[in-house]
């Protein structure tokens, strides 16, 4: 029965392939079909979520019926179950937003690319095989290239070009890493690699791990490699940006975390981790500093999202279980908050025709619900208690201090001071500056925004149930021995 979880991959694929046929039948049925598919996907994801969290055992999907490492297996553990649900729900909300936000013509192509972006992220999170991770990473990347350039303006093409060149280099070197790992171990299944990791020759292991992490770091927006991200976030259609910052980046972050911990038996492991922590801290600082004097609010949120991603990467690279669970909790919180804020900014851009800061003056009077959503999002990102990001940021900082990285924490807190500045300036511009006549806000989107705001406040006030889920998800990544035991490896005689 549990093999039906493979519908998580089959359904969006079936939907995407079915759209060209559906387009022949009735052109206007494409978008509603998109909502239907994401709705069913959410249903399946919810079923998988409580299946995994009730039985406590991960679902292992063996494609083609062959046991790993012979066949490819999907490992839907605590983390994958949680985040597949996050992906499905965010995509559902963004399809609703796409009705209003996407006006550029070939909408059926947009729907196909939208579904495949969701598929790529879901695949990346649930796969249990390194090369399959590469394939799903490419699916996410290429559909992201297409979606970023979708608006067909000069700037959109420029942003997409940057992402293609950098993404191309990153994935090529990722493949070199896979070649090295396969060359020395002879297997591609993650659990099998984790089992045999100690047999790898030190130089190959170090180089392989470094290249794998380099490839993933380009997608996961670490400091110098994230130069494509601000442009891509700014130029992509609004629902795509929200999806991008909510889960596409998280998928590559998770992949990086998974690769780090399955190769933890490798000899040069701690030096690469320290490099990753330095990169992560630099990402936070440069991300926050660059957002300081932005007059395009969408680009400002892009930089802030990059900074939070850097914080998550630091959490992952700490090498302690509390660090990993804290970064998973931060991923979850950040996904909600950033989905809300990019939805709100997108909606403002759709209604008022642009995301420059002067469009936001007096927003409190013109679009009260959207202004309220942005304010709650901004306040929770700064890290104020009674909101959700506070708990995960606190856990991250305590975990970092536990791992004796006092200087890193001081720099990160300094950066979040900078973050507080530009968010407060935004809040002040929205509520206490400028005038404007009232704009009628669509009730559906208002409802979606209020739903997300309610979720933020609920997690902020009583984080206990969420934290238990996060700890299980964190140990799912960190505890590699358990991971190897869960995957039914066939004893392949060397």
């Amino acid at each position: 029965m549990s093999q039906y979880a493979s519908l998580l991959i089959a359904l969006p694929l079936f939907g995407a392939f079915f759209i060209p046929i559906l387009k022949r039948i009735s052109k206007s049925a494409v978008m509603p079909f998109l909502v239907l598919v994401t709705l069913i996907q959410t249903g399946i994801a919810a079923w998988v979520f409580n299946e995994v969290y009730i039985t406590g055992k991960p679902i292992i999907i063996m494609a083609g019926g062959f046991r790993p490492p012979i066949g490819i297996n999907l490992y839907i553990g605590h983390f994958a179950a949680l985040f597949v649900l996050v992906i499905a729900v965010t995509s559902l909300l963004m399809t609703i937003f796409s009705f209003k936000a996407v006006s550029v013509e070939p909408k059926d192509k947009y729907a196909m690319l939208f579904l495949l972006l969701m598929l790529g992220a879901t695949g990346m999170i649930s796969t249990g095989d390194i090369f399959n991770l590469f394939v799903f990473m490419e699916i996410t990347a290429i559909s992201a290239y297409a979606l970023i350039a979708y608006n067909k303006t000069g700037e959109a093409s420029e942003a997409a070009l940057k992402y293609i060149v950098l993404g191309g280099i990153g994935s090529s070197f990722f493949l070199v890493g896979v070649a090295l790992i396969y060359g020395s171990l002879g297997t591609l299944n993650m659990a099998h690699i984790a089992q045999l990791a100690h047999l790898v020759n030190p130089t190959v292991a170090k180089a392989g791990l470094a290249l794998l992490i380099f490839g993933l770091a380009v997608e996961a927006e670490q400091f110098p490699l994230n130069a494509w991200a601000p442009d891509a976030y700014q130029e992509a259609p609004h629902p795509v940006t929200a999806m991008f910052s909510a889960f596409v980046v998280k998928a590559s972050l998770y992949a990086m975390g998974r690769v780090i911990y399955i190769l933890s038996a490798v000899e040069g492991w701690s030096s690469i981790l320290r490099l990753l922590i330095i990169l992560g801290t630099l990402t936070v600082i440069i991300g926050e500093m660059s957002a300081l004097r932005q007059n395009n609010v969408k680009r400002m949120f892009a930089y802030s999202s990059i900074a939070q991603v850097g914080l998550i990467a630091v959490g992952l690279a700490l090498g302690t279980e509390s660090g990993v669970s804290a970064s998973v909790f931060h991923m979850f919180n950040h996904a909600i908050v950033k989905a809300l804020m990019f939805l709100a900014v997108g909606y403002v851009a759709v209604e008022l025709g642009g995301t420059e800061i002067n469009k936001f003056e007096g927003l409190g009077k013109r679009m009260p619900v959207t202004a309220f959503a942005i304010t709650v999002g901004a306040i929770s990102i700064i890290g104020i208690p009674l909101f959700n990001i506070f708990w995960s940021k606190m856990q991250l900082i305590l975990a970092a201090l536990n791992a004796q990285y006092t200087w890193m924490v001081a720099l990160i807190l300094g950066a979040s001071l900078v973050e507080a500045t530009y968010y407060i300036r935004l809040i002040h511009t929205i509520w206490f500056k400028g005038e404007g006549e009232k704009v009628k806000e669509s009730s559906v989107l208002a409802l979606v925004m209020l739903l997300l705001v309610a979720l933020i406040i609920v997690i902020g006030i009583y984080p206990e149930p969420f934290w238990n889920v996060m700890q299980k998800a964190g140990s799912d990544i960190f505890n590699v021995a358990q991971y190897i035991k869960n995957v039914p490896l066939m004893g392949v005689s060397p």
Binding site: P224, A227, L275, M289, E464
Partner: protein, 617 residues
């Protein structure tokens, strides 16, 4: 629900309700009820103070624990009382539900800080209080609120790092456990055994806590946010803001003493008769008194004057804490109470004046004594109490403080404290002269007296000022209960420090006698006749009413000229320049790194590969 939880969360829930039900009448009632609950319970819990009442919520991520003991009951009393008075006054000056939500949220934050039993809860409610009070200031002025928020969050993050270091080494947040661990550390240091925290780390933790609590208490180098924040917010909220929220900084310093006092004392050694680390706090406190007092005298805006005076009064408390003996600690607590009372009263008076006249600078005020007699009476009580005139609580606490400082023969601190009280008197003359006496501008003729809600609030605080002034023994008994031993002797009306006595009742009797005699002379003897204002100043040459005779502007111009050199060094400008410099750095960094060309981005990738190649190989 446990009483402690009710005390802490009642204002927050009331604030949220008031914000949701945005109807003019109901919102006020809910708000006042929300503020009354903590006051009521604080009184109720008086007997059960040492009953070890505690309450804990398990939030999964952290366990929030609250506990009641003699010390935080004392601070709880201050917070609840002045908080209730401020919320009562907010009824008339409150503009919209936004202010009700955040005023009550900050009250809830303060009470949470006082009742917290572990460092993490302390930090969480500290952040809630900072955020709520920031939102009150943001409502009025962005620059002031931004400066306030950044400095206080800077302090909060300093505390977070210290807290994190303690948690990393000791694995716990709980006050009691940390206290024991620090005692063990102290002995280990004494006998040169190996310790969990190195000397450098304990100094770092001390400095971080110093910054964190210094910011909140408005200590000298970190006080720049206070004048703007206190003046740029709803004036009745300012009463709570300066009266209660600054007490959290004081409470923090006392926590620092309780947790790490012995360790730091042994570690850093002594200085004259106090500990070195204590003397730093005391000296900075002394500087705060002088700077606060001098700047207060030179202010043109009534709100700014009281903001600076509030900072300088806090300097007294810091000196009391810094000296570090049991007597000086009790003096500091006593002065914390009296400061909250008379400063709260002063800000309520300012709120009434601003509410009624709409003016805030001295130049366009004057001669309000006839028009607002009740407020003037309240102001009179407050002035006496702040200046330290015997029958009121201000004198009692200042007297104990002076005794404490002198008995430890610390000449420099003693000098600062005395200078401070002199300066205190100076800016009070400025206030009374410019606002109450002198010639009333024509447009203030139809000014009415304080509205009922503000009058009641002021009356409550004035009453306490008088009662505790006459019977300081009430407070002394509570303070002794906190310290467990008889530090300040004497019964209800007499404070006996062993080397000095103060009989409040006797002085009151002499005062009443004096007033009676003065009254008799006034009515019977001298033919007192009303003298028109114009007569007193121009030595009898003809002058008309519309010419402004009273010196309301630049009252202390000579003082300003003498201090001109010192006034140029302003920490406010320093912080502003640092901020601007960081912003320019950010601008340069952003344009240099994200310069838009794909090739340079590809170069970044190549550089990272190079680093991997060189480091990884």
């Amino acid at each position: 629900m446990n009483e402690l939880a009710l005390i802490v969360f009642a204002p927050l829930i009331a604030g949220a309700l008031a914000w949701l039900i945005d109807i003019k009448g109901i919102r006020e009632i809910i708000g006042v009820l929300g503020a009354a609950v903590p006051l009521g319970y604080a009184a109720l819990l008086y007997q059960k103070v040492n009953g070890g009442l505690s309450f804990a919520i398990n939030l999964g991520v952290f366990k929030l624990t609250f506990a009641l003991n003699a010390l935080n009951w004392f601070f709880l009393g201050i917070g609840a009382l002045v908080g209730f008075a401020a919320i009562l006054a907010l009824v008339s000056t409150g503009r919209d539900s936004y202010e009700w939500l955040f005023a009550l949220m900050s009250l809830s934050g303060v009470l949470g800080v006082f009742l917290a039993n572990d460092l993490m809860t302390f930090f969480i409610f500290w952040e809630i209080m900072t955020f709520a009070s920031f939102m009150m200031v943001l409502h009025y002025n962005k620059a002031a609120s931004l400066k306030y928020f950044l400095l206080s969050v800077f302090g909060a993050y300093a505390m977070l790092i210290a807290l994190g270091m303690i948690y990393a080494k000791l694995g716990t947040f709980d006050f009691a456990q940390i206290q024991q661990a620090m005692y063990k550390e102290a002995y280990a240091v004494a006998f040169k055994a190996d310790t969990v925290f190195s000397k450098g780390e304990s100094i770092l933790i001390y400095l971080l806590f110093l910054i964190a609590f210094g910011v909140k208490a408005g200590m000298f180098p970190l006080h720049v946010w206070a004048p703007d924040a206190y003046s740029e917010t709803n004036q009745s909220y300012a009463a709570m803001f300066s009266g209660v929220l600054s007490k959290t900084g004081v409470y923090g310093f006392i926590m620092l003493y309780l947790l790490m006092g012995t360790r730091l004392a042994i570690e850093l050694g002594g200085f004259r008769s106090t500990t070195k680390f204590g003397y730093i706090i005391a000296f900075l406190g002394g500087l705060t008194i002088i700077v606060g007092g001098l700047l207060a005298a030179l202010q043109e805006d009534i709100r700014k004057l009281f903001a600076y005076s509030s900072i300088s009064q806090l300097g007294y408390i810091l000196v009391g804490i810094g000296v570090g003996t049991a007597l000086s600690m009790q003096a500091a607590l006593f002065h914390a109470l009296s400061h909250a009372l008379f400063k709260g009263l002063f800000f309520l008076i300012v709120a009434t004046i601003v509410y009624r006249t709409g003016k805030t600078t001295f130049a366009d005020m004057g001669g309000l004594a006839e028009k607002m007699p009740f407020t003037f009476a309240m102001a009179f009580v407050a002035i006496l109490s702040l200046a330290g005139i015997p029958p009121l609580v201000g004198f009692a606490s200042k007297w104990v403080l002076f005794e404490a400082v002198i008995s430890q023969n610390l000449p420099v601190l003693g000098g600062m404290v005395f200078f401070g009280s002199a300066i205190g008197f100076v800016y009070l003359i400025r206030f009374t002269y410019a606002v109450w006496f002198g010639q009333r501008p024509t447009d203030l003729d139809n000014v009415k007296d304080a509205p009922l809600s503000m009058a009641v609030a002021m009356a409550i605080l004035a009453l306490f000022n008088v009662i505790l002034g006459i019977a300081p023994g009430l407070v002394a008994r509570e303070l002794n209960k906190i310290f467990g031993k008889e530090v300040i002797g004497g019964n209800l009306y007499v404070l006996d420090l062993g080397f000095g006595k103060y009989n409040a009742l006797a002085i009151l009797i002499y005062l009443i006698a004096g007033i009676v005699i003065a009254g008799i002379i006034y009515f019977m003897g001298a033919k007192a006749r009303r003298v028109p204002v114009t007569d007193t100043y121009q030595s009898a040459n003809p002058v008309t009413m519309d010419y402004n005779l009273t010196i309301r502007r630049n009252f202390f111009l000579p003082l300003k000229e003498t201090l001109a050199f010192w006034l140029r060094i302003s920490f406010d400008k320093l912080y502003h320049d640092i901020g601007a410099w960081i912003e320019d750095l950010a601008e340069v960094l952003r344009n240099y790194i994200y310069n838009g060309s794909v090739q340079s981005y590809a170069w970044y990738l190549a550089i990272i590969l190079l680093i991997l190649a060189l480091w990884g190989v």
